[in-house]
């Protein structure tokens, strides 16, 4: 099965392993991730806070590019996924936005950007299926207690993301079970790490991130896994005593393609 793939800038620089393990694992599962021939930075989550059109155009272009390729678009970085999904949601629900974007792009933006966007975890859940994934596991991570850290970008706003129950998600826990490990349910798993605040007010970000790993540690987790480079950055910066790794790394390990 072929899917268009939008890696995003961070996956080409700071988070190369998130990308590499994802590609190898997908291959092992019989999925071809075909990177979009041309893509630009999603603009990061700042764009969603701005009431302007220009910053959202790179997401629109990615959506239109994938539509041209004729495949659903797979994303991996939480922030990219959030920005692309929110942009698409705004296009579909906000007539004014659709009109202005259409003017910029000289096309019917709503129709040409209606590509199905799925996160890599949704790919595992809905396309591959966790049961099928389980069958493909060669190296089950039995006995590992793993804390899934969702952060906020995958889950919220839930109307746009349609990813999982934002207050009590389970997709990552199901993923952890599929690769043979034991999920640790801890209350801070869907709280914000501090995000970009770290650039302006590092103390605030540190406070948030610390609360996350403390909660995971409290419930005896061995690792924290995440899909978000920014979450990982903040957790490590706040001196998490628990290793913080990308979920794709564990996936690759379980599939024996690490």
């Amino acid at each position: 099965m072929i899917f268009s793939y939008y890696p995003g800038c961070t996956l080409k620089t700071k988070a190369k392993e998130l990308d590499a393990y994802a590609r190898r694992s997908a291959e092992a599962l019989g999925i071809t991730l075909s990177e979009l021939p041309e893509w630009q930075c999603c603009g990061g989550v700042y764009t969603t806070a701005e009431d302007e059109i220009a910053t959202k155009l790179s997401s629109v272009r990615a959506l239109m590019e994938a539509k041209k390729e004729g495949h659903a678009l797979v994303t991996l970085c939480s922030a990219c996924h959030n920005v692309i999904k929110q942009t698409q949601y705004a296009l579909n629900t906000d007539d004014d936005m659709a009109f202005k974007v259409g003017n910029y792009m000289q096309c019917d933006a709503r129709a040409e950007a209606d590509t199905k966007v799925i996160h890599y975890l949704e790919l595992l859940r809905d396309i591959v299926g966790f049961d099928e994934l389980k069958k493909n596991v060669k190296n089950p991570l039995t006995g590992k207690k793993i804390a899934a850290y969702y952060g906020c970008l995958l889950l919220r706003p839930s109307s746009a993301m349609q990813f999982d129950n934002p207050e009590n998600p389970k997709i990552m826990e199901d993923f952890i079970r599929a690769i043979g490990a034991t999920p640790v349910i801890y209350p801070m798993r869907n709280e914000c790490c501090g995000g970009y605040i770290t650039a302006e007010d590092p103390a605030m970000a540190k406070k948030n991130s610390t609360a996350v790993w403390e909660s995971a540690k409290d419930f005896d987790a061995d690792y924290i896994i995440t899909a978000c480079p920014l979450c990982r950055y903040n957790l490590i910066k706040s001196e998490s005593p628990l290793p913080v790794i990308y979920f794709t790394e564990l996936l690759a390990e379980a599939l024996d393609v690490k």
Binding site: N165, E167, N168, I185, P187, S215, F219
Partner: protein, 663 residues
């Protein structure tokens, strides 16, 4: 020659504010057949009505058109006025120039034009009206109350007290409803069971009251005064007439792990059970989902120990049909499911409970014998956090947009009772607003704050986080102090919004009674007819109509009973003469009308017809049962040959109206 009078009402400024009423009267005075046209500030007032009566007498009017409010409001008033002046009341037509004109338009010119058009249509119609006479139908002097909570109980007792037979249909094995599960009642703190159970016993002992417990309404046919209702008595596998309620079977039953629904699943009971000690009827019921004998034919202990021989594993659902003159809906409420409120960790921690669960936890007949203990480890809670408005006043789509009305008061009650019994327990209440409009209600709430030291904090709880040490970390905002709070609590109590019982929706369809978007039954008039449904003969009692507390429910229950009694004392009811009839020479017996009739009023008969060639022929033609037809007009639209017509709304009249509008 028609002599039509036109009367244009100002309705104060309600109509005159946007419609030039004088211009309307003037314009309509030139319509064909109109011999009199006038306007008046309040046509419904006595002098307004006299104006109509005088004009009828003076000008010998044959038809009257009143341009005023909706016919729902005053059609009856004006029909009576016309009748008293000697004009057949069905020669009166209303042009609704208020709800359908002045209230929805802002521009005087457009509104006036539209009012004239509406008046013109009514004139065109009334010119074709024929005098109609209402026939009379007898009234079945028996009432049905659906739902056996405090609302249904009170209604039934009051109706029976007036000497009429009344049946209660209750879907649970016992009457009593939610009030039976409540521990204490606000603002007097008297024991709910102590004031409810005597009423339950009164119902059981009253000769006029028959209780169909563990039963459901299956079908409703007929109309006001003459309903036929199908009731399903669900199999309880126990012969009600033989069971003495001794409870031996419940002690001996080996299936002790059945969730106790009366205690909201907080503890377990046996598969054969009596919901609670004061149940009425006090008869055992077998829970078929858990009974070994019913599931796989192995056990039979209850049958062996029952000295009365009441156990009957082969009992089947029983279907009964009864006739009633009036039906009272008292189907009550349930707390909403908390699936959309995972931030409060209700599904994740047993120590997060709903307020109704707390009632059971504090009740002497509850799972802990009345001692408040944490469900998880049965220890004494030292800190309890209450969260109000869980799903109430919620426009996010997760909950209900309305205020559930009872939560502020019962939360104050819970907080006060806990502080009174366990002074070492700190109690926090998070609220959006505290709403206590009721007799002695605000005093009650202030006592909780001032005398009992309950910490009321304005703000909502953002998240409840179960901790490793078993505590619940509550994160909330204090809006008055502008601070974020973290409270480590032992228990969290959620004041879940209330919603109408799920069975109400299907019942409303059977009764053709209307509901609002929240599935509360709609009253005939929100202020003036609060206990009647717009469907004649259907009355509303209790929370099925909107959230209310016990005193209000009882008041409404008695009001509904008064309305029922007012109906049942009549020997005959005037029926609506605006009903369908078939023109037999045009009818070809195609059955189209029968298929669309929602009341089953149309049957077919074989009739002899004299043909033009002097032979006779037998043809199948439609026949309308005048007592059953409600005059909805569906058949007149469905009839392909135009044989069906509705008195008072004939095809000819409707077309005349349309022509007048399009002129």
């Amino acid at each position: 020659m028609q002599k039509i009078g036109v009367f244009v009402c100002h309705c104060g400024t309600n109509i005159a504010g946007t419609v030039d009423v004088k211009a309307v009267a003037e314009a309509l005075s030139h319509e064909p057949g109109v011999v009199f046209a006038a306007d008046y500030p309040y046509m419904c007032s006595e002098s307004g009505q006299n104006l109509i009566k005088d004009a009828i007498r003076e000008h010998g009017l044959t038809g009257v058109v009143i341009c005023s409010c909706s016919p729902r409001m005053h059609e009856t008033t004006f029909r009576k006025a016309a009748a008293s002046a000697g004009l057949n009341s069905y020669m009166v037509e209303i042009a609704n120039i208020r709800e359908q004109c002045s209230w929805i338009h802002k521009d005087m010119k457009t509104a006036t034009e539209k009012a004239v058009i509406l008046g013109r249509a009514a004139i065109a119609k009334v010119a074709l009206n024929t005098p109609l006479t209402a026939s009379e139908t007898p009234v079945t002097k028996r009432a049905l109350v659906i739902g056996g909570g405090i609302a249904g109980i009170q209604t039934a007792l009051d109706i029976a007290d007036a000497g009429f037979e009344v049946d209660i249909v209750e879907k649970e094995p016992t009457i009593g409803g939610k009030m039976a599960q409540i521990d204490k009642t606000f603002p007097t703190l008297d024991c709910a069971a102590c004031i409810l159970t005597p009423k339950m016993v009164d119902c059981a002992q009253n000769e006029k009251i028959h209780i169909y417990a563990y039963s459901e309404v299956e079908s409703v046919k007929g109309f006001v005064g003459n309903f036929t209702v199908g009731i399903k008595k669900k199999a309880r596998y126990v012969d009600e007439t033989k069971c003495t309620g001794c409870g031996l079977c419940t002690e001996k039953c080996p299936m002790k792990k059945t969730p106790n629904l009366f205690n909201l699943g907080l503890d377990t009971r046996s598969a054969i059970y009596i919901p609670f000690a004061q149940a009425v009827p006090k008869v055992a019921t077998i829970d078929a989902d858990y009974c070994n004998m019913l599931k796989n034919g192995r056990c039979g202990v209850c049958s062996k120990v029952c000295t009365a021989g009441a156990i009957d594993y082969h009992q089947q659902d029983e279907h009964i049909e009864e006739k009633y003159g009036a039906i009272v809906v008292a189907t009550g409420f349930n707390p909403i499911k908390l699936d959309n409120f995972d931030e409060y960790a209700y599904a994740q921690s047993p120590d997060v409970v709903t307020s109704l669960e707390l009632e059971r936890l504090m009740n002497a007949a509850g799972p802990n014998g009345g001692t408040l203990l944490r469900p998880s480890d049965k220890t004494h809670p030292h800190t309890i956090v209450f969260v109000q408005c869980v799903g109430s006043r919620d426009t996010s789509g997760c909950g209900k947009p309305y205020c559930s009305k009872i939560c502020c008061m019962y939360t104050a009650k819970h907080a006060m009772l806990i502080r009174d019994k366990y002074p070492d327990t700190e109690v926090y209440v998070f609220y959006i607003d505290v709403r206590t409009p009721g007799k002695n209600f605000d005093e009650f709430y202030r006592r909780a704050v001032e005398e009992y030291g309950v910490h009321y904090i304005k703000g909502m709880v953002g998240k409840v986080m179960p901790q490793k040490n078993g505590k619940l970390l509550v994160r909330a905002s204090d809006l008055l102090a502008g601070e974020q709070l973290k409270i480590e609590a032992d228990m969290v109590v959620l004041a879940a919004a209330i919603e109408p019982d799920k069975t109400a929706r299907s019942l409303a369809t059977m009764l053709t009674a209307s509901m609002d978007t929240n599935d509360f039954f709609t009253e005939a008039h929100p202020k003036l007819r609060p206990v009647e449904s717009p469907t004649a003969g259907i009355f509303l009692s209790g929370v099925c109509q909107g959230p209310k507390d016990i005193p209000e429910t009882v008041a409404q229950a008695s009001a509904a009973a008064a309305k029922v009694i007012g109906l049942l004392v009549k020997d005959k009811l005037k029926s609506n003469p605006c009903i369908a009839h078939a023109n037999e020479t045009l009818c070809n017996g195609c059955s189209s009308c029968e298929r669309v009739c929602p009341y089953g009023a149309i049957t077919y008969v074989d009739k002899e017809f004299r043909m033009p060639d002097r032979t006779t022929k037998i043809r199948r033609v439609a026949s309308v049962n005048a007592a059953v037809c409600q005059g909805c007009g569906a058949c007149t639209v469905a009839c392909p040959s135009g044989a069906m017509d509705l008195s008072g709304f004939s095809n000819q009249q409707i077309m005349a109206e349309v022509d007048a509008i399009c002129r």
